[in-house]
Amino acid sequence: MANGLPGPTTRFFNGILPENPVYRQILGMCPVLAVTNTMAGAITMAGATAFVLICANVITSLLRNALKPHLRILVFTLTIASFVTIADRTLAAFLPLMSARLGPYIPLIIVNCIIICRAEVCASKQGVGTAFFDAAGTGLGFLLALASISLVREVLGNGTVLSGWAGPGGLGLRVLPESFPTWNLLLLPPGAFFTLGVLMGLVNWYSLARKRRVAQGNLFTVGAEAARAEVQA
């Protein structure tokens, strides 16, 4: 880019790991903790968030020359709220059980900081193509983060993967034997905090180990630079 901002490819890959919204930027914690007790719920939530993220980023990018600085947050929020309404009504029509289970967390996408952050950082400054790939990469990174947290919680807490995908008893896959003592605590609210804390510690530990090999300096930026160079090579 002429103005020194990253191009679409960099934006896309940045969203997945180097600037992962959950593990690196610690944004949008509310759905991350609340809906990850089942993989099915987590993936539905990530899908809805990615849909809203992509649509809102594209619209914001198209509007970027007409935005007034003092009104821009309001415009972002109203754009997001409109797409969240579409996502919410669509889920209620086609996946009523999932919609009832996620309840108020679907409308809470409106105040998910990830979407406002992407609109502010990327879409209000760059073209439609870049904004689209930025949103797609961030959405994918969010999906991977939610899937990893819910995988740990559901496998250890219930012994299954993807159970309840199509209603109770549908499509679930039992990965641990029935005799395995399940950790019910992981399905309860404290389990969400523990799982995310430990996983975040593991990601940091990986970054630190990498940092020692690469160079001295700030933990997050050095890790990001190294991963970025590796991805682009």
């Binding site: 914690m29 007790n37 109203l78 709220a81 159970s163 605590l185 995310l196 510690g201």
Partner: protein, 250 residues
């Protein structure tokens, strides 16, 4: 509804009100049970006085926003998209039939909350300068605080009455303040602890919050064994475990 303004879906006896307050502030604590308002919980909870200021500001804005959105829902948009919902009273009167405007709710709510925060900020700055100094930087941040929107959504989805709305939002704000103040106290001590390097920062905060949530899980016993959460992955998520109506019936 026979009366013009429905006060509450439950009978407003002392027992029910106390149950509603305990259930909202402690058992279903916004931060530790519903996970809303995590951003200020992790970001602002470094010192006890800022945490208390944030808690007070959230309680204040939450109550104002809850009353405003309840009024808009009741008179204009209605909440026909939830079970037992009803159309807006004024729109029904004007149109002569039940209009389902509930799809507008999310857009209207976020607009009302953003507007309410602006007005509260201007009003407090003009008439209560000491209070403005205390709330200060937190007021604008609150627009995007998910706890406010979550409270208005719960009130809409559970068909609460006006008195119930006020009690619920104040109790929710108190619960948020309790959680964020305890966390601030813990983190002031945590500064002196020797934490392994990868866990420093948000990771150890989350683990400490998990232990705190574990302690708050004990409050579920206050309401008796029927309130224990289902540990089954197929069961509804925490958001739908209990409603105040069910609490009252229990």
């Amino acid at each position: 509804m026979s009366t013009l303004l429905p006060l509450a879906a439950i009978e407003l006896s002392i027992t029910n009100v106390m149950l509603l307050i305990v259930s909202t502030a402690l058992i279903n604590n916004f931060v530790l049970h519903y996970f809303v308002g995590i951003c200020p919980f992790i970001g602002v909870s470094k010192r006890l006085d800022t945490a208390a200021g944030m808690g007070a500001a959230v309680t204040f804005v939450m109550t104002v926003a809850a009353i405003l959105t309840k009024t808009v829902t009741y008179f204009v948009t209605g909440n026909m998209n939830v079970t037992g919902g009803q159309p807006g009273v004024l729109t029904t009167m004007i149109a002569g039939r039940a209009l389902d405007l509930s799809f507008l709710n999310y857009v209207v709510y976020i607009l009302v909350i953003a507007g309410a925060v602006q007005f509260v900020e201007m009003y407090v700055r003009k008439f209560f300068p000491p209070l403005y100094k205390a709330f200060g930087v937190f007021l604008p941040l609150i627009t995007t605080n998910c706890a406010i929107l979550f409270a208005t959504l719960m009130i809409m989805m559970q068909n609460m009455g006006f008195a119930e709305t006020v009690i619920y939002s104040i109790a929710a704000g108190i619960g948020f303040t309790i959680a964020i103040a305890i966390m601030a106290g813990l983190r002031e001590e945590l500064d002196f602890a020797d934490v392994p390097e990868p866990l420093r920062g948000p990771a150890i905060t989350l683990i400490v919050a998990g232990i705190l949530a574990l302690a708050f899980l004990g409050f579920a016993g206050v309401q008796g064994p029927s309130q224990a959460e289902p540990a089954d992955a197929n069961a509804p998520a925490p958001a739908h475990v209990e409603t105040p109506e069910a609490d009252a019936a229990a």
